[in-house]
Point group: C2
Chain length 241, copies 2
């Protein structure tokens, strides 16, 4: 397997010679040195994508929030904590890549103030926490000139495809990977996932499978769309939208 | 080591024949199926305490928030997510134990409302999150009649001992383990820790060491204090308060 992967890395594969940057895991937004706001995310999907990208021949970089996963072989990894850290790393690495995959579950709000020392317990029964909007990392990268082929994720409850198509257009993305996080059998800390791929000219369902299998399906679709970009009706095997 | 531990478990040890319940890790307080509020805590200190309690001969139960640690040998484990889950498990198990050690980093506030479906991103630059106070688990257990020997933790920034003594009296605890979480070399995800033990009649510093060594020091102090409970000036080797 190592020899096979090394061969793919240097000689062949659907992404041979391309540079891929992938964000993964959650971000944590500090209230103080003890407390934080975060999102459920094990990082497994992003790490599986990194492994699949390496197998497809790409030079692959991970920008990872706090997770407890080992770095896949042949992947270089940058660790970050907050959304602003992740944006800074993305802005540094994305201009030098061909494909940017924003798989991280970025906290969309952070506390207005992060205290330097622990906030002592207030003996009030309730309190209001002031939050401010975090930067939108995938939209920021998609707005670069020139921009990489940009892939976003949409973790939604209920039917996520309509929301994904709206997000695709609003953020000027090339592909959205949508999944329904209200299903307890997929997503988050699970080893399985089921997703719908939504791009400007079509969509395709990847049925429930291991995150490794789903990752290979996503990377294959990205390679097809990247190769045929600018052509009407890319990814010939797709059903009409 | 296994033979030694099994021997201690069944025949001897400072806590032989006693039942110990230990809470460990963080709690997570859901805003919706995706977002949550939490505390930094790897669970390592609580799990090290469970291992040390087993080594001292105690029948040991862990109530653990979301962590990525393996359960120590001979420890029974109950997994929980929120502070209210942890309280329910503690109220169920504590009345049947001799010693209750509240090592978990419990979130002191939770969102007033936890939405059943993901809150769609609001395109506001800021928002207010309404929080309500969580139950105080260690104070609830310390108020039981009869009550177990009850140990709390105080993770504070700056000099924590004065705050710990106030907390000891206010919550009617038998022992507080205080540590300074503003030091980057100890606490949280570190494998080392340094703590100050504070009980009604004295205090003692445990210098920086591995969490396993600190855990054995805490368990030894608990065994001394438990054995001499009701006697003035328990733990003879302690300096005056």
């Amino acid at each position: 397997a190592i020899a096979g992967r090394a061969a793919a890395l240097f000689t062949s594969g659907a992404l041979a010679g391309l540079r891929v940057v992938i964000t993964a895991g959650p971000t944590r937004e500090a209230l103080d040195p003890v407390r934080y706001l975060s999102n459920h995310s094990s990082g497994k999907m992003g790490f599986a994508l990194a492994e699949a990208a390496v197998d497809a021949g790409a030079v692959t970089q991970l920008i990872s929030g706090p997770v407890t996963l080992d770095t896949p072989a042949h992947v270089s990894r940058r660790n970050v904590v907050s959304a602003r850290d992740m944006l800074a790393a993305s802005e540094e690495l994305a201009p030098h890549c061909d494909i940017f995959i924003a798989c991280a579950a970025v906290a969309d709000y952070r506390p207005l103030q992060a205290a330097a020392t622990k906030i002592k317990k207030i003996h009030a029964d309730s309190m209001e926490l002031a939050l401010v909007r975090n930067p939108d990392i995938v939209a920021t990268i998609a707005a670069l000139h020139p921009r990489p082929f940009t892939v976003g994720f949409a973790a939604e409850t209920g039917d996520p495809v309509d929301y994904a198509r709206d997000k695709l257009q609003r953020k000027n993305l090339d592909l959205i990977v949508a999944n329904d996080v209200s299903r307890s059998d997929i997503g988050f800390n699970s080893d399985s996932n089921a997703v719908t791929l939504v791009w400007p000219a079509g969509s395709r369902v990847l049925d429930m499978a291991s995150k490794n299998t789903i990752a290979r399906g996503i990377i294959t679709a990205i390679a097809d769309l990247y190769t045929h970009r600018g052509q009407e009706g890319a990814v010939p095997q797709s059903p009409p939208p």
